[in-house]
Structure formats: structure tokens, C-alpha cells
Point group: C2
Chain length 469, copies 2
């Protein structure tokens, strides 16, 4: 690949080069035209004068036309240097050019940060909005952050394993998206709310240290900063204590931030711990913002919330809900594990049980939760009962997991930090949509692709489903 990145031109004075990019900022002085040529790396001023035999053609260019230019990189006279530009001391004297693609007038301006524009319009033309410096940076940082996490986890013996997207409907707190099967009419796949069961099964497989940058899907009711699909760093490990997991995750985030966001200040290391009770009593929230200066975007206040109750009462449905999920290990009020005592409390006083759950909170946002898992079949079955599953439900939804636990299961636990939210905070954004390449609206609409949308009668017929009006 021969292309020279534009930011490298500052080291190529007196060289004849070919450059490619978008034309921006055209300054037509009649007999001489200046443009800025922009690629992903930077901007360079290019100049052409009327002696060039294609000068009249150059006059046709509108901003965001794509061109190839050839010419000599020259030093600018010192008084014409632009100190705000990385390549401000040089310019390209256009010898030749090719117009690769003309541009019509864009539907909105790309110079500013774009926050004040109608977001529906920005989303419809997302591919244009992504030309904005701010969003280019957000995508690049997201890439760098995820690659850092992958290499970090690899260095500690973790293996990234892809788990299926077409899987089975299992209750995990939210609604599943489902996919009708054409080959098995009347049957459906479900998209995973998380790879929870797969990662636990991988522990049964003896993988010991698993991770995945995983796509998760939840069909929930519209909310401003919610997406139908989101990305989490899914982690599970065997033969570890809660303490092992928390200190490892802390180390991971501290190293990532030190390397990629060196200007950010972490309020307190080691990350403070608050019990759920303390958090509620002191801060009135289980996701307190512990920044010393609440308006400082470059301050990062991590805090682990621990010692959650195992269950919470669901007043609406008059039943117990799992505070985290059914797979979390319950523990006694004194913090100890004793199977017989736990089974007794599950029977009589589930409200007294705590659990091996932990949340990681950053600047007032829950950015991840996890737990040590129940690997004892008797306890897991009893938890399902407390939660109101009947025996058929349990057999249908969790048979494979319960069965798996009868063939030797290493004790295990994990955590699943939410990537979109973390990047939002690190990039000082107000919405996760600013750190996702192609987000949907809070109502799950994709204005760019126009999805969801109707499908053909033939498709419906093949799937053997009918729409009820």
C-alpha cells in the first residue's frame, strides 16, 4: 500500500508525492486556489495556480470531493506558517490532480462537534457524521482500548472464544430477540442476552480463563441511552476467589488507563469498596459518584460495590427476583458458605441471604457486574424454585447446565464490563451513541438503513409465520 499518510508529509519537504483525501476548506483567490486536503491522519494545505492547465477543472470542486494530488512538498514562508496545524510549516504545490469522486453539498456541517444538530439527521447520514474529527477519534480509541484489553488478557493466559449468536431462549431478566427457523417451522433461535451459560459451560470444559468481546441483545422498552445490541467484555475464570477477580479487574483498568489515557487521574487505587448497604445508606445509590470534583471529566472514580442481598422483592409481580442473576452464589449473612445452612435459608428466609455479587461503578455509572457462580446443583435448583420457576421450566431452560455440573465442574466466577458505557465515560461523551459506529435510536430504529422494516410475503411464507394486524 503506497499511500502516504498526510501527517507524514511534514517530514517530506522537497519530495514529490502523491496524496489522496477529501477536499475541505476551499479558498478561491481567483488566480490561485488553496484547499485543505484531509485524510484520516491529518490535513495539508495544497495550492494550485492558474498556470496549471487543469486549473479550470479544479474550480469545479466542492468540499468533500475526493481527489488525488501530485506535487512537491515545500516549506511555507515563516510568516505564512499555521501553528494550529501539524503540517502548518509546509504545503503541497499541485502539479497534477485527478478527481476521484465529486461531492454534493452535505446535509450538515462537519466542522464543529455536532452536538447541537438534530440527532435524527445525524443518524440518517451516520456515514457522513463519522467523518467528524470527534467521532473518528472515538472509533480509533475504541479500537485501541479493545485491542489493549485483548493483549492484556492474553498475557494472563485468557483465551478469547466466540460463542453463538443463534442460540436458545433462556430467561435472564430481559426479553429475548428471537429468530424464526425456516428449516424447523414454528421453532425459533434466540439472540443471547449475554454468553452467561456458554461461559459457564466453558469452565466445565476446563478452559479456566475465558474472555470475549461479546455482542449482547435485549429487547427492552425504549429508553434514551439504551441500545438493542451492546458490547461487553465477558470474562470468566476458574479456581478464583471474589478477591482474585476484583484485584485482577482493577489491575486491568488501571493499566489500560495509564497506557491509553495517561492524562486521566484515577481518584483512588486500590479502588475503594463499599457494601451495598453502605452505598445506599451513605450515598442513597448503589452507583455513587465518588469523584472529588464532580465536574472533572478527567477524574475517574472507580468503586466496587459488594455484599449484595441475593434476592429483592418484586412488588409488581409479587415474587422474588435475583438481584444479579440465578447463577450467583448465595452466602450466609455472616459472609460464609455452608451448603446446609444456605439451603435452609433458601427454604425459609431467602431475604436474609447475601450473594457473591460485585458491581464496578465509575463516576456514578455501573460499568460492570459479576459474581462467583453457584456450582452446586442442589442450591441452583432451590434458587430457581425461589424465583418461581416450575420444574418444567427448569428442565427446559437449564437442563444442559445442571447436567453439565454433574460431570465435574471447577468453581468459577466472572465479570462483564460494558464497553459502550466505559468508552462513553473515557471519551467524555454524554451518550453511548457517540462511541458506537452505527447506533440505533433509543427506540431501536436505524434511520440510516431504515430498520426494522417490512419483509416480503415470500419471506414470511417461507418462515411459515403470519403477522397479526
Amino acid at each position: 500500500m503506497q499511500k502516504i499518510w498526510i501527517k507524514e508529509t511534514k517530514n517530506l519537504v522537497n519530495k514529490y508525492v502523491n496524496l489522496f483525501g477529501f477536499v475541505t476548506n476551499i479558498r478561491d483567490h481567483g488566480k490561485i486556489i488553496f484547499i485543505d486536503l484531509k485524510d484520516r491522519s491529518g490535513i495539508i494545505q495544497c495550492v494550485i495556480d492558474q498556470n496549471n492547465n487543469k486549473f479550470s477543472q479544479f474550480k469545479l470542486l466542492k468540499p468533500f470531493s475526493v481527489i488525488k494530488v501530485s506535487g512537491l512538498i515545500k516549506d511555507r514562508p515563516a510568516h505564512l506558517a499555521n501553528p494550529h496545524l501539524e503540517t502548518g510549516k509546509i504545503e503541497l504545490a499541485i502539479d497534477n490532480f485527478d478527481i476521484l469522486s465529486l461531492s454534493e453539498t452535505l446535509p450538515f456541517d462537519l466542522d464543529g462537534d455536532g452536538y447541537d444538530l438534530d440527532e435524527a439527521l445525524r443518524l440518517k447520514f451516520r456515514y457522513l457524521d463519522l467523518r467528524r474529527d470527534r467521532l473518528q477519534k472515538n472509533l480509533r480509541r475504541r479500537h485501541e482500548f479493545l485491542l489493549f484489553l485483548r493483549n492484556f488478557l492474553d498475557a494472563y493466559g485468557f483465551i478469547e472464544i466466540e460463542t453463538p449468536i443463534l442460540t436458545k431462549s433462556t430467561p435472564e431478566g430481559a426479553r429475548d430477540y428471537v429468530v424464526p427457523s425456516r428449516l424447523y417451522p414454528g421453532n425459533f433461535y434466540a439472540l443471547p442476552q449475554s454468553p452467561q451459560q456458554y461461559k459457564q459451560l466453558l469452565m466445565v470444559s476446563g478452559i479456566e480463563r475465558y474472555f470475549q468481546i461479546a455482542r449482547c441483545f435485549r429487547d427492552e422498552d425504549p429508553r434514551m441511552d439504551r441500545q438493542p445490541e451492546f458490547t461487553q467484555l465477558d470474562i470468566e475464570m476458574s479456581y478464583v476467589t471474589k478477591e482474585d477477580i476484583l484485584s485482577f479487574i482493577e489491575k486491568m483498568f488501571v493499566e489500560a488507563i495509564t497506557n491509553l489515557y495517561p492524562h486521566k487521574k484515577i481518584t483512588k487505587i486500590p479502588f475503594p469498596r463499599l457494601t451495598y448497604k453502605e452505598a445506599i445508606e451513605i450515598y442513597g445509590s448503589d452507583k455513587p459518584d465518588l469523584r472529588i470534583n464532580n465536574n472533572d471529566n478527567d477524574e475517574l472514580a472507580f468503586v466496587f460495590i459488594v455484599d449484595f442481598p441475593m434476592f429483592e422483592w418484586d412488588q409488581k409481580n409479587n415474587k422474588w427476583d435475583a438481584m444479579h442473576h440465578p447463577f450467583t452464589q448465595p452466602i450466609l449473612p455472616n459472609g460464609e458458605y455452608n451448603k446446609e445452612e444456605i439451603l435452609k435459608l433458601l427454604d425459609k428466609n431467602p431475604e436474609l441471604l447475601f450473594s457473591e455479587q460485585y458491581d464496578l461503578v465509575l463516576n456514578g455509572f455501573e460499568i460492570g457486574g459479576g459474581s462467583i457462580r453457584t456450582t452446586d446443583k442442589d442450591i441452583l435448583l432451590k434458587v430457581f424454585e425461589v424465583l418461581g420457576y416450575n420444574k418444567d421450566d427448569i428442565a427446559d431452560k437449564f437442563k444442559h447446565l445442571l447436567e453439565a455440573f454433574s460431570f465435574g465442574v471447577p468453581p468459577h466466577g466472572g465479570i462483564a464490563p460494558g464497553i459502550d458505557r466505559i468508552l462513553m465515560i473515557l471519551e467524555n461523551e454524554k451518550s453511548i451513541r457517540e462511541v458506537i459506529a452505527f447506533p440505533k435510536t433509543g427506540e431501536g430504529r436505524d434511520y440510516m438503513m431504515d430498520a426494522p422494516s417490512e419483509i416480503s410475503k415470500e419471506q414470511l411464507a417461507e418462515l411459515k409465520i403470519r403477522i397479526i394486524n
Copy 2:
């Protein structure tokens, strides 16, 4: 994380250690019991004798029970060393142990390679089959291979960008899986057959170098070695020629194999090129196996197939099909690009057109295809017409892409190597199912999770769909 990997014990002679793992290979000599303790890294012999006060409890263990053992690592007498074991010169003298999980008898043996077992049974108990050394290695190598590709691409300025899984139904040659929308009854998302349109839109965004280890979905008819979802390394780049792409991809594979599979021999570097016509005429196939010794699994014969016809005649439906896809740049029979001439041939003799398509073939398998894309709206519209799309179809399915091309589009092209197939070949496997953690059958069934399966009446009602019997 305090856990010691078992393979490290060979360097810990005379140290008192805690080890965790599966019990395998129990040899009960009455007064003394030998077991092998196995974790992801290796195996160590452990020994306990009747003087241990928990000896009778140890007798209860069955293979694949999970235990913690504590004791001293000792040198074995030289004549009792096992040269086949990495830790064969040492053993652990069990001082204490905890049974963490008992195991029932496994439904099949895990000692051999497992090829001769009933595959349905292996897939139902996939979490046990994955304990097999061969599959553990396949998962580890897959992780290493993908991480290598990510770091390689990062070093060349590529950015990994996640594109949506919930998107819009667009015709790309196969059937889409669709997802009914609860919030917009009667409307559907579609799962992407590939991120083709997103990656081209990212080129319009000025990303210039994009990649993604992407999940793709195709609802096709059953075939032995086909999966409803598969993984491809999706790559797209701006301002490149076909030659740039081919030589870059060659470099990537050569470096990956040199680093991760140093014992493999690449038949010929640079990879040979064959035109489609040559491949068919000489080898009777557009995916010829160019190994010198066809039975040598450690020989890797890459070949690029180039100069494909743009269209092929679909006899069944009496219409033209795109040999690659509609987004591929057509070129003239003499290999040149001339817009007016191309438009003429599209009108009158589409069969004479070639295209900027290329396939990468390895040992007789197509492992990836790609092309330089058409970024000229007039040509793209005409190609859609030749393929039989009417104006409404085009407006409905491709409006955003055609519109995008009117705002300045950098010329671009890409390629998408199929990860499952490549790993299959590199790991000398006969089926892609051996290199996928949780594969489905050729008919799209998941025997482990039991998917696809029925969903509840409430779910159907919420989605406002009905099943036609």
C-alpha cells in the same frame, strides 16, 4: 490469581504447592493411589497412601472429579520417570485435598481424538468434548491466530470497528435470518450476511483502513460443512489497487503462518496467480489444490484466482447473476476501466465484462474472496438493472449506499477470508465444526442447547406473529 499452572510444577521441586484440576487416570493399588491431575496446561502425577487420614475419602473419586490438592513436589526415582509427560520426572505427594466437585461417569471417552464417536452425542455434550486435548488446542490456536491478525492489522493502521447485527434485509445472494420487532409490529430486523454495506459506508466516512472479525449469518439449505453463522476477517481499504490488496493479504498470511505454524511449508511465495479461465481449463476447478504432494497436511498451497467474468448466467431463473456481488467493479475485456465503454457493455453484452474480483484458494478450498468496488453510481445502478432489480427494489435496498456515493467516496476494495475454514486447514481438521467452540449441525441444530425450539404463546403475542400450521 494464585493458581499455579500444572506444567510449571516441573520447576518447583521440593516446594509445597496447592494445585487445582480434574482427576484423570486413577490407579488404585490398594494401599496407595496414583492419579493424574490435569489442568489446561498439563498433567502431573499425584500420589496418596493409606497413612493419609482422608485416604478413604480419596477412594470415592471418579475420573473428572475436580479437586484441590496440597503437598510437596518431589523428584521421582530415575527409573520411574515418564518420558512422555512434561512433568514426568516429578510427582506430587498429597498432604491434603478438597473435593470441589464429584463427577458421574462421562457419556464418552476423552482419551482419543474422538473422530470415531457419534457426532450427535459429541455435540450434545459439547462442553465435555471440549475437554479433549485436540479441541482445547484448536480453541487456543484459534485465539492465537485471531489475536495475531488483529495486532498485524493494527500495526498497518487498520481500525477494528463493530458493525450492527440487527440490521436490514438486503439481497446478497443468500437468505437472511430475520428478527421480528416487538416495538414495530410487522417489521423485522435482518442479521447481516456480511458487513459489506457497512464497510463500504465506513470508506465513505474516511476510515480508509477497516477490519472486523465479523459474525455473518446465512439461512441456507442444509449442507454437511455449513453453519448458520460463521466468522470472517472482514477487511476494506481506500485508495488501493487490486495489487495492493493481494500483496498485503499475502504478507499477512505468510507472517501469521511463519509465526504460529513454523512447521508448515508454504508451497510458493509469492502466491501464484491464475486467471479464472486458466484455473478452469488447466485444473477443471476455480479452487485448484496446488500442493506438490496432495496428502501432505503440512504443505500450504495458496493461489489467487483473478480475472473473473462479472456475470454468470443463472439457467434456473433465466437471469444474470453477479459472479461475486453487485458491488464489484466491472472492467473491460482488455482489463481496462472506461466508464462509457463499461456502460455500453452492461447494456448490450454483459457476458463480455470481467470484474476486479479475486479469490484466495488454499489446498483446494476457497478461503476468501474480495474485489475492488464500484463507486460510480451510474455503473452500480446499471449493474443492479442487469441483475434484474427493479427501480423500487433498488431504492428500497440500496438507497443509503447510492446516496452515500454522492457525497464524495474514496475508491476502495476489500477481502473477507473465512476464519473457520482457514483454521480447519491449519489444524488439519476435516470439518469446520472441529474449530468452532459450539457448532451447530449441518442442518442448523444445536443439540446442546436444544435450539431452535418453541417459544411461549406470550412471546408470540408480544411480537404479533402467528405460526401457520
